[in-house]
């Protein structure tokens, strides 16, 4: 339980974030200010926001729990599962999105392919974000109930009120700038438990020696790469093909919640730099969030549920004050996930559905009000649907699994859309739908096709491959868009065409 000073720290943090977020209300005059922060944001703030949006309160406990069970192999999700994809995003996708002046990924896909692809992608994301919000609220409420003894409803109402107020009024700028504070709090809180833990086990060398001495089942706990035939869900083949090539790229270049921040950068250089700055900060996440799980292997051996590792360490090791700081970090993780989800869902609805299909040509002020209204409605829906997670305990896993069905196919049409001008609208649409169908089929028949316990990495890879084959095949038999329509949407297409025309002119001049 928390002491007086811990409560003071948590309350000071919550009030500070609320005031900071609401301060940004005065900068919101147009829908562009609201959805893209006026395109004035610097790289350092976006980079920090990218990192903190990726880590929720539940991840603090869950990632440490996975590290407790499987070892450092879990860190691949933040290292190889982020850095290469963030570099690709920085130098290829983000500059093109930024130049195109789009608000959303579906909007880019709509321009590159057609409105069907745009609507399909937008609806998929809206549905999952809306469902996901209730689940985030509930999972975090359970965590705070376990750790602090707070009633679940209290955690949900506090988080929803504070996050809702600054997101509804301040838009993306408020989300990003509060994320900066949240990232700092999160890093300090996580560092506190890491340092205290390392001291108690005799430093890094003491930790390694003690874990390895615990028996043969711990011999791989410090191996980042596990054999292809490992019974765990993380064989190196799955890490490379499923995570590195598909899921990571789909997340960092195709996830609206992530990419929207970069679209709000003050110029193209800041957009690129934000991804690289975020990649650098990402390198520390496994150390701060997962390594406490490894320390818990020594301090609390034999736990049946690895997710108990961090709560026990907090209870047993942290002095008053630091405990409050760590709880502020939990809130930071929760609030950054909620504000990101709210803002991106409101943008998708307003720009890709409402403005495109329901009310075209309305005033900018109308869309600004709609954006704020939708943010509020999604928030209320999230709060009201949160208790459903208790009635359907496997809901979180189902939603995550369903979401993974779309990752490979979305990546396939993004890659072909960006790099192959011959890809047609029909190819993109059938690739998306066919890939999703293949994912669902492989998941349904996973016991027949796969040997590991949870083959989500392999399913992502093969659905990506399937979507690529369908996209290429259909594109070869259907009509592509005119090249001029694709300028600014396909990587270096205009530059290549200009160079080709110059070459032809030179050749003609020489022949004449």
């Amino acid at each position: 339980m928390l002491s007086g000073i811990d409560y003071a720290i948590v309350i000071a943090y919550l009030l500070g974030v609320l005031l900071l977020g609401i301060y940004f209300r005065k900068f919101v005059q147009t829908s562009r200010d609201y959805f893209l922060g006026g395109r004035l944001m610097p790289f350092w703030a976006i980079g920090m926001s990218l990192v903190v949006s990726d880590i929720g309160a539940v991840d603090f406990v869950g990632a440490a729990g996975q590290a407790y069970r499987y070892g450092v192999v879990v860190a691949n999700f933040d290292w190889i599962g982020c850095v290469p994809a963030m570099i690709l995003a920085a130098f290829v996708f983000v500059p093109y999105y930024w130049r195109a002046g789009v608000y959303t990924i579906p909007e880019y896909l709509g321009r590159r392919y057609n409105d069907y692809v745009r609507a399909a992608e937008a609806l998929i994301w809206i549905v999952f974000q809306a469902f996901g919000l209730g689940i985030i609220f509930w999972a975090s409420a359970i965590l705070l109930n376990t750790l602090m003894g707070w009633p679940k409803g209290v955690s949900i109402i506090i988080t929803a009120t504070i996050t809702g107020l600054y997101t509804v009024f301040g838009g993306l700028a408020a989300v990003v700038m509060t994320d900066v504070v949240q990232m700092i709090i999160m890093y300090i809180g996580a560092a506190a438990i890491l340092i205290m833990g390392l001291i108690s086990v005799g430093g890094w060398n003491g930790l390694v020696d003690k874990v390895l001495a615990m028996g043969p089942e711990y011999q791989n706990h410090f191996e980042l790469i596990l054999p292809a035939d490992t019974p765990t869900p993380y064989p190196w083949t799955g890490i490379l093909f499923g995570l590195t090539f598909v899921l990571a790229n789909a997340y960092w270049i195709g996830n609206q919640t992530i990419v929207q921040r970069c679209l709000g950068a003050k110029n193209e250089w800041h957009a690129k730099a934000s991804m690289l700055w975020g990649a650098f900060l990402k390198l520390f996440i496994p150390v701060l969030v997962m390594f406490p799980g490894l320390i818990a292997v020594v301090i609390h051996p034999g736990l049946e549920n690895g997710d108990e590792a961090v709560p026990r360490m907090i209870r047993d090791m942290l002095p008053p004050g630091l405990t409050g700081l760590l709880f502020a970090a939990f809130f930071a993780g929760l609030m950054s996930s909620v504000d990101s989800s709210l803002n991106s869902t409101a943008t998708l609805w307003t720009k890709d559905i409402y403005e495109r299909y329901i009310r075209r040509g309305a005033s900018d002020r109308h869309y600004l009000i709609m954006g704020r209204l939708v943010t509020l409605i999604i928030l209320i829906l999230g709060v009201l649907t949160a208790p459903l997670s208790e009635k359907f305990p496997g809901m979180y896993v189902y939603v995550q699994t369903l979401l993974s069905f779309f990752q490979g196919p979305t990546l396939a049409i993004l890659l072909f859309g960006m790099f192959w001008s011959r890809t047609t609208p029909a190819g993109g649409l059938t690739g998306l739908i066919g890939g999703i169908a293949l994912s669902a089929f492989l998941y349904w028949k996973k016991a027949v096709f796969f040997t590991i316990e949870d083959p989500f990495l392999y399913i992502s890879w093969w659905s990506f491959v399937g979507a690529c084959i369908i996209t290429v095949t259909v594109s070869l038999f259907t009509q592509p868009k005119a090249r001029e329509e694709l300028y600014g949407l396909v990587f270096r297409l205009e530059e290549r065409d200009v160079a080709l025309q110059a070459k032809l002119r030179n050749r003609l001049d020489r022949n004449n």
Binding site: V83, P95, L224, P235, T237, H270, W277
Partner: protein, 69 residues
């Protein structure tokens, strides 16, 4: 086939080599990008605006991590 059985004989050392090669490849590819593309929108580019160095720094750190573990 779907379980990548054909890669089961690849050793851990070789797998790590493949992953580190991927990082090196990305690092080299970034250095082939034109400087004008990298510093686009920067009015008076200074050395720290060159994002190729940023990329090299991040990749060096992650290669060190994969060599250590």
């Amino acid at each position: 086939m779907l379980n990548f059985d054909w890669l089961h004989s690849v050793s851990i050392g070789m797998a790590k080599g493949i992953i580190i090669s991927l990082y090196v490849l990305i690092g080299v590819a970034v250095w082939f990008l034109k400087r004008e593309y990298i510093v686009l929108d920067v009015e008076s580019p200074r050395p720290w605006h060159n994002l190729k160095w940023w990329t090299t720094g991040v990749l060096t750190l992650i290669i060190a991590i994969y060599l250590y573990f």
